[in-house]
């Protein structure tokens, strides 16, 4: 990771506000991390002083706590429950509206996009990798107009991760800790400021408006060393074998029953997962009945309704649902999107109320040398 560093310049810490100001001048609505409800969350903000300065986190399976330390740094933490996915793939969105006139004629209307362009400050490598997957899902074969409009205007300021949680395993999925694509500007945070690199024309144009200074060798060395150290600190990993062959050949492995006995089927893992895209659709009708909005809302493969057909429940039991989630995420995604659906952010481990660790489950199922019986 240290070998070739893109050319970087230095933004002194006291000038970080300029980044917010320049984005605002250019018409962006800026979102970034703050401490809210005892967690790092991404909200709209215009002031660098709102960033979580001095906050760091302790994450373990089923455990998340923030603590304050003596530090000038604003990005010394691993991701909280959500980053910016809900700003692009909204948890609730109007897909279209049906309008009925007094004669009973129907008119169907797409919502008019009214959003300002969106800028995100503090995008992590794992979430940028997840963004690329959401792009493939919502843009490649059938284009989702709402997502497409928001995505086209997105300006992303990545911050390379230097503080992984114990639940993180982005090194094992190949998605972090250094952001390598999908950003306009990337920052490496140091005590006295930020190394700034750009990777798009929009990013370069914006960086030109920042009071950047030449970066010295010491800055470059320190930043690279911090990112490299992350790789050493991550202790979790997914099995390195091609899980595609393994998971589907072990559909009757006893571990599925074992994990089902612990899993509450609550869907927290899918809610915090930055690549999960399932949603349900329903109508919300105005009281008078003339207008009805056709809505999309996040759904989970752990929900009762997900596999529902009339007279038939595709996944009646928790073991079916957990197996559906894991085989889709780690296996079928390869066929559908050309890679695994896991970016190693570790959120599903932290936010699982009973602390189920998908890396442990995957190892238990895949590392087992015993040939399982044929599935039927």
């Amino acid at each position: 990771m240290t070998a070739t560093m893109p050319e970087q310049r230095f933004l002194p810490r006291e000038s970080l506000q300029t980044l917010f100001d320049v984005l605002a001048e250019r018409g962006y609505r800026t979102i970034g991390p703050v401490v809210l409800d005892k967690a790092i969350q991404y909200v709209e903000l215009s002031d660098a002083s709102a960033l979580p300065t001095g906050w760091t986190d302790d994450q373990q399976p089923g455990h998340y706590r923030l603590t304050q330390v003596e530090s000038p740094r604003c990005f010394a933490w691993a991701n909280g429950p959500q980053a910016f996915k809900p700003y692009l793939n909204r948890s609730r969105e109007v897909l279209w509206e049906s309008r009925r006139d007094s004669e009973g004629n129907l008119e169907f209307v797409l919502p008019t996009p009214t959003d300002k362009p969106l800028a995100v400050i503090g995008a992590r490598a794992c979430d940028l990798a997840a963004l690329a997957l959401q792009d493939r899902h919502f843009l490649d074969q059938a284009r989702d107009p709402g997502y497409a409009a928001r995505r086209a205007s997105l300006f992303s300021v990545a911050v390379h991760c230097t503080h992984p949680a114990t639940t993180c395993f982005c090194v094992s999925t190949g998605d972090g800790p250094r952001a390598t694509s999908g950003f306009d500007i990337a920052l490496s945070e140091l005590d006295d400021g930020y190394l700034v690199e750009t990777s798009s024309d929009t990013g370069r144009a914006l960086a030109a408006a920042l009071p950047l200074q030449p970066a010295d060798d010491e800055h470059n060395r320190a930043a690279a060393a911090e990112i490299d150290a992350v790789a050493q600190r991550q202790c979790r990993q997914l099995p390195s074998d091609d899980l595609r062959q393994t998971l589907f050949s072990r559909l009757d492995h006893p571990r599925w029953e074992d994990v089902a006995a612990r899993c509450l089927s609550c869907g927290n893992c899918t809610s915090v997962c930055p690549t999960c895209f399932c949603h349900s659709e329903r109508d919300q009708v105005e009281l008078g009945g003339a207008r009805s909005q056709h809505l999309r809302e996040w759904d989970s493969c752990f929900s009762e309704g997900h596999g529902h057909l009339h007279g038939f429940q595709v996944r009646p039991e928790t073991r079916h649902r957990y197996r559906q989630w894991l085989t889709h995420k780690l296996d079928s995604w390869h066929d559908q999107y050309g890679r695994s659906g896991c970016v190693g952010c570790g959120r599903c481990i932290t936010w699982c109320p009973v602390g189920i660790d998908l890396t442990a489950e995957a190892h238990a199922i895949c590392d087992d040398a015993i040939e399982p019986e044929d599935s039927a």
């Binding site: 129907l106 949603h279 659709e281 009708v285 759904d299 997900h306 559906q324």
Partner: protein
Amino acid sequence: MSPNLPRQAEVVDRTEESPSTFTLHLRLTDGAPYRFDPGQFNMLYLHGAGEVAISIVAGDAQAGVLTHTIRALGRVTKGLQQLGVGEHIGLRGPFGQGWPMQQAQGRDLVIVTGGLGCAPAVSIVHHVLDQRTRYGRLSILQGVKHTDDLIWREQYAAWAQLPNTQVLLAADVAAPGWRGHVGQVTALFDQLELDAPRSSAMLCGPEPMMQAAAEQLHARGLTADAIFLSMERNMQCAIGHCGHCQIGPDFVCRDGPVFPWPRLRPLLGVRGF
């Protein structure tokens, strides 16, 4: 036409097929052209209630009329049942991959259906009868739980009179006067006049029935890749976005609902997929 937005359709006629099953004949009011392949489906939208995925039974391009046979089971379909001629609904579609009618040209067709209506299979028959000379022998095997569930009796009787066409019916439970087979539809294979190497099979119905039929037809000499299945899953978006209908590498709404059997075979019958 955006796959994301419904078009308005008017109910131009409706047929009561049984107390719970009805057929809507719809005309798109925008006059824009509409073409579909047998086996594809539409999303029908009832104002204020929601959408439901319904297979297209038939379409008359000249009259611009599309036919959907629907069983009133849930909130939306029960609402659709109440519609009268002249009322309006929304329609998105067509969606998905239909039956391989092109690939099956010149071959004998074995259609095996189970359950009520089985509209996707009936769409094949309509297509074949429209272009009769392009296909060989047509065999239609329909199974139902109870003989009272059999709709389109006159239609089956009429098809049975056509040259080069065989119609075989089976019911698990038979009312008095039933002249078809009593038992499962797969038991009809013994009566099937089958030239296996030149036959393609198209199956539609409950999965255990399709699985059994596919295995038995394969054992009788049909190649695995000449057997096709129409799958049913929870479909809400119809464009591969909502995730409910995923089976292994596929979304049924986009990559199906019709699949070659070998594509589905590894997960067919595995509970949970």
